[in-house]
Amino acid sequence: QASGDPQRIAFLLRKQWSLYSVTPLYRFCEARLRDYGRQLGAFIAAERQKGLAVEVGVELDVKVAVSCLPDLKGSEQDQAALLLQLSTRSPTSKKNSEDKVVWLGWFCCVAGDDLSENLPEDFTCLPLFLVHGAERYTAIVGGWFQKTFDCYFRRLTISPLSLSWMAAMWAGCKEDKATSAMELLFSVPCLPQPLDISYAIHAEDAKALWDTVQKTPGEITQEEVDVFMDCLYSHFHRHFKIYLSATKLVKVSTAIASAHSDGFVKFFQSQYLTGVLMLLTELAISQIQ
C-alpha cells in the first residue's frame, strides 16, 4: 500500500524514532494547527526562561511548525498524521539561511479502528507517537500535549512475540535489488557475563524459508510465525547446541525496517511505511487499552 508521494515522506526514512503510545486527545481540532504551533512555541520559550531547555552556552529561538501528513493513514476513518517540527536559527547566521531542524515528532493512526470506533465525539485517536531529537524537547512537547489535550504518553515497548511477527512479515516482502540481510538480535543478560547473539540470514534465503511456511499469500497466522521462528532456531541449534528460544529476541532488522524491543524503529522503504505503521498502531492501541 503506497504512502503517497515518496519524496514528501522521505525525511521519515533512515532516522531512529523513539516510540510512544498516546491516549486519545480531548478537544483536538485539526483546523487550529497554527494556533497550536504558536501556543507550543510560547510554552517552549517559557520553559527555556525557566532554564529547562537550554543548551550550554547557546541561546537560540525555537520555532514550531505544526502540519498534517494526510497520506499517512490506513483508511478514511483514520485521523491524518500530525507532524511537529522544532527548528532553530543561529542569531549570527544570515537572514536567509536555513533553519536547523532540531526535533521531529509525529502522531499517527493507521488502521486504528479498534480504538477510534468506540470513542466519544470529542476525542481524536492518534495512538502512535514517534520522536527523533533531544529528550529535553520531547519532555516539553509531551508536557504541553498532556496539559492541553488531557492525554498520556507512555514509552512503547515491543515484545519478542511482536518482533517475531515483524521478522516473518518483513522476511516475506518482495525485494527487487540486492538487499541487506535479515538480522535478529538475541540477548542473554542474566548470565555471569552477558551475551548477545546476532543471527543474520541472507535476505533471499529468509524469504525462501518464509515462502515455504506461509500457506495463504496475504495472510499470516501465529502458527506460521511460530514455524518460521522454530526453523531458524533449530538450524541454529544444530550448529551451536544453543536454544535461542530460551533467550530474548530484542531486535529485528531487515531492508524494510528495523525495530528494537526498547521501543525504537527505523524505516528504510517508503512503500512499506504504512504497513509497518499499521503494526505499530496496533501495538500502541494494545498498550493503551
Binding site: V188, L191, P192, A200, H202, L209, H235, H239
Partner: protein
C-alpha cells in the same frame, strides 16, 4: 621545542587517568625526579599537562621522546586497542639467534626505504615482547602522530600482534618489514582478533589451562555437602543432571579461567535441514547466514550457558574449539560426504 611536539605531549598527558600520570612520567624517565617533585598532581588535568609541557620545553623534548610516552601509555592501556594476530612461517629448520639491534635496524631500513616520512620507536619488555610504534606519513606530509600502528613481536615465537590503525593500506608494508627483519618466509593474518592482548597471547602461546585426557573432575559432592545438611526435606530434583552438565562443561572448557575474547563470528554456508516432518525448504543450496556472539568475556559466557539451561552440554565444538584452534572467525560448510551434523571449517 616544536609546536606539534608540545601539543602531542599535552594531548598524551590528557589521555592518562589522573592517578596514573605521576607513575607514567616516572616510567618515561625523561623528566628528572626533581622536576617531577615540582608538579602539582592534584590540580585539574589541563593544568598538569601544561606544566609537563613546560618542563619538556626546558628539556628540549623531540618527537622520538614524546613517542616513548605514547608507547608507555598504550602498553598499560593495551586493552583499549583492537589487536589482530599474525603468524610468520619459516621454510627451513635453521634457528637463527635473535639479534635485537639487527632487528630494529632492519625494520627501520625497510620502512624508511618505502616511505620517507615515518616515526619509528621500539621498547622492550620483560616477557620478550618488543613493542614497535609506527606513525605514518606520506611522501609529502610529516608522520601523523595521532594515527599510529602498534606491533608487538615476541622474539621467541613466530607471532606478531598488530593493532590496526586507520591507515590500513600501510599494513602490508609493516608486515613485509617484519618478515625481512626476522628472516621468516612470509606472514599471514590469523582469524583471531580481540581487545585483550594477554588473552590473545594466552591462546596462541597455549598458556590457558588445557583440558587434558586425565579428567579428574573436582568432586561436586564436596561443594554441596554443607547446604544439603540444612534441611533434609529439601531435595534438588535434577541434581544428577546438573552435576553431569557441570562435569561435561569442565571437560570441555578446562578448569581455569578462560582467555578473554569479546566476540566470535561464524559465516555459515550449510544446508538448511529441519525436522523431516515439517517438509520445509528441502533445498540443496546452502542457507546462508552470519552468526556473531558478543560479550565482555565471551568464553566465560558460553561456558555458563549449559548450566543455565540454555544450551546442551557439551556445547558445540564450533564454540569449544575457539581456544585450541586459536581463531574466532570461522567459515563453516557441510562436509563433502554430507554426514548429518558434520561440518568442516576451512
Amino acid at each position: 621545542m616544536d609546536e606539534t611536539v608540545a601539543e602531542y605531549i599535552r594531548r598524551t598527558v590528557l589521555k592518562i587517568p589522573r592517578d596514573e600520570i605521576k607513575t607514567m612520567l616516572q616510567k618515561w624517565g625523561f623528566l628528572s625526579e626533581a622536576q617531577l617533585q615540582n608538579i602539582n598532581f592534584h590540580q585539574i588535568k589541563e593544568n598538569i599537562s601544561q606544566e609537563v609541557v613546560q618542563l619538556c620545553e626546558e628539556n628540549c623534548a623531540d618527537i622520538k621522546q614524546a613517542a616513548v610516552l605514547d608507547i608507555i601509555y598504550n602498553h598499560i592501556h593495551q586493552n583499549k586497542r583492537m589487536w589482530s594476530v599474525y603468524q610468520m612461517n619459516k621454510k627451513g629448520e635453521e634457528t637463527e639467534i635473535f639479534d635485537l639491534t639487527d632487528f630494529k635496524k632492519k625494520i627501520k631500513r625497510q620502512l624508511r626505504t618505502a616511505l620517507k616520512n615515518v616515526t619509528i620507536n621500539f621498547r622492550e619488555y620483560e616477557d620478550n615482547a618488543i613493542w614497535i610504534r609506527v606513525a605514518w606519513g606520506t611522501p609529502y606530509t610529516k608522520p601523523n602522530q595521532y594515527k599510529t600502528s602498534y606491533a608487538v613481536y615476541h622474539s621467541q615465537t613466530p607471532y606478531v600482534f598488530i593493532s590496526a590503525s586507520v591507515f590500513r593500506s600501510n599494513l602490508p608494508l609493516l608486515c613485509q618489514a617484519l618478515v625481512v627483519a626476522t628472516s621468516y618466509q612470509d606472514i599471514r593474518e590469523m582469524e583471531l582478533r580481540g581487545h585483550s592482548l594477554n588473552s590473545l597471547k594466552d591462546i596462541v602461546f597455549r598458556r590457558y589451562s588445557q583440558n587434558f585426557q586425565t579428567h579428574c573432575p573436582r568432586p561436586l559432592q564436596e561443594r554441596n555437602v554443607a547446604p544439603e545438611n540444612a534441611d533434609l526435606r529439601i531435595i534438588r530434583e535434577n541434581k544428577m543432571e546438573k552435576e553431569k552438565i557441570e562435569r561435561v562443561n569442565w571437560e570441555v572448557f578446562g578448569h581455569g579461567p578462560q582467555p578473554k575474547l569479546e566476540f566470535a563470528q561464524y559465516k555459515l554456508e550449510t544446508i538448511f535441514r529441519s525436522d523431516p516432518k515439517m517438509h520445509i525448504l528441502d533445498k540443496k543450496e546452502p542457507f546462508r547466514c552470519v552468526v556473531k556472539f558478543s560479550s565482555p568475556d565471551l568464553l566465560e559466557s558460553l561456558k555458563s550457558l549449559a548450566p543455565a539451561g540454555m544450551a546442551d552440554a557439551p556445547l558445540s565444538p564450533l564454540l569449544t574449539c575457539i581456544t585450541h584452534k586459536a581463531r574466532n572467525y570461522f567459515k563453516i560448510r557441510d562436509k563433502k560426504d554430507l554426514l548429518p551434523g558434520g561440518f568442516t571449517s576451512p
